[in-house]
Symmetry: C2
């Protein structure tokens, strides 16, 4: 059965998935790269062109990004900096071959034509409730899982709507103080999930929420 998954979504101890302000030069605002250093240090991230990298728990979780995923849904603020919709040539942060390699749906009020990139990624621009969008995206995923790619607001919306089956959050021991917060308004979320936490020698804590069967 096709599940809805969040993989390796990083937040600060105070719950922010990004800092502020988000600009073309600083996609994560004042957080910089600090929320993702644990991932850059993994064998998985380094890939074929760079030696070394950790092969422990951080690497094991990071590797769950791609397998089994048939499509991604992301928020408008993940696709580009504020105002990207006014630039007809904006094609995301990721260069000609984005790391998604599947149909990738951007939730936005500013419709535009799909953009076909190299490597299997096609960006579609859609609007609607989480339920409506998920229904459409599940078809595009061809029976595989749908990744909810962030940012914090989109993940929170899908959690509130009860549409996430598996949530993997990486808590980084820094305090950002401001930005976009993941956990607001989710009282009692844990009741529908099996929750696990495990710390890594890198200092981060991996939290997994797996929807309880039945």
């Amino acid at each position: 059965m096709s599940r809805t998954r969040v993989t390796s979504f990083a937040i600060s101890l105070d719950g922010f998935g990004t800092g502020e302000p988000q600009t073309r030069e600083t996609p994560f605002g004042h957080a910089g790269e600090r929320l993702h250093e644990w991932m850059f240090a993994t064998r998985w991230w380094r890939g074929a062109n760079e030696p070394g990298g950790s092969r422990g728990v951080d690497d094991a979780f990071a590797r769950q990004f791609e397998p089994g995923i048939g499509a991604e849904i992301m928020g408008a603020n993940k696709f580009g900096p504020p105002g990207w919709h006014e630039d007809p040539d904006w094609k995301g942060w990721w260069g000609p071959n984005p790391p998604f390699h599947t149909p990738t749906f951007v939730l936005t009020h500013h419709a535009r034509e799909p953009i076909e990139m190299e490597g299997g990624t096609t960006f579609y621009f859609v609007e609607g409730t989480p339920q409506e969008v998920l229904e459409q995206v599940r078809e595009a995923a061809g029976g595989k899982d749908v990744r909810i790619g962030g940012g914090a607001t989109i993940i929170r919306d899908f959690l509130s709507a009860g549409l996430i089956d598996h949530l993997h959050v990486v808590q980084v021991p820094i305090l950002l103080g401001r930005g976009s917060r993941l956990w607001d308004g989710l009282e009692g979320l844990e009741k529908d999930f099996d929750v696990e936490a495990v710390t890594s020698p890198s200092g981060v804590t991996h939290l997994t929420f797996t929807r309880t069967e039945g």
Copy 2:
């Protein structure tokens, strides 16, 4: 040297140290006892009168509550429910022999005479900035450490003032959604501390912030 310490302060995943509303019947509001179940399950908590209890990491941390402490500072909301100062007979939640066994200072705008309890606890009622109060309390601690006992607001105030040497927070995997939040307004706190995280089989994550030497 006398240090200022926070021991076993429990928060939810979304950072709340207590729920709401706080009343005489519900000192932690809608959180109930859920933030402290990990502690009730320890050998240390059960004490001489109750058998069993965990002897692992939760127990090791819980046992740091008393040794080396010469005095406690607590906020008015820890001492009693809203309006306690209008009740001249209110002596805290803890019965005739409170678990502090040292001079214990309640930060409040409502001065009253000290209350001497059994077992070494005397409640003093004081007012002032964190710096002023800490200076006074250090003397009462007789060279030992000072515990900052909570709630979240008081700990946050002392952290903001740079007055905490060791912070031990226990993150419980529940989402409270509302209450009194620990982490607000503490951007960059980690820069002055060595931070560790360790998870327990009970499901909680122990976070320690130890002020960097020099």
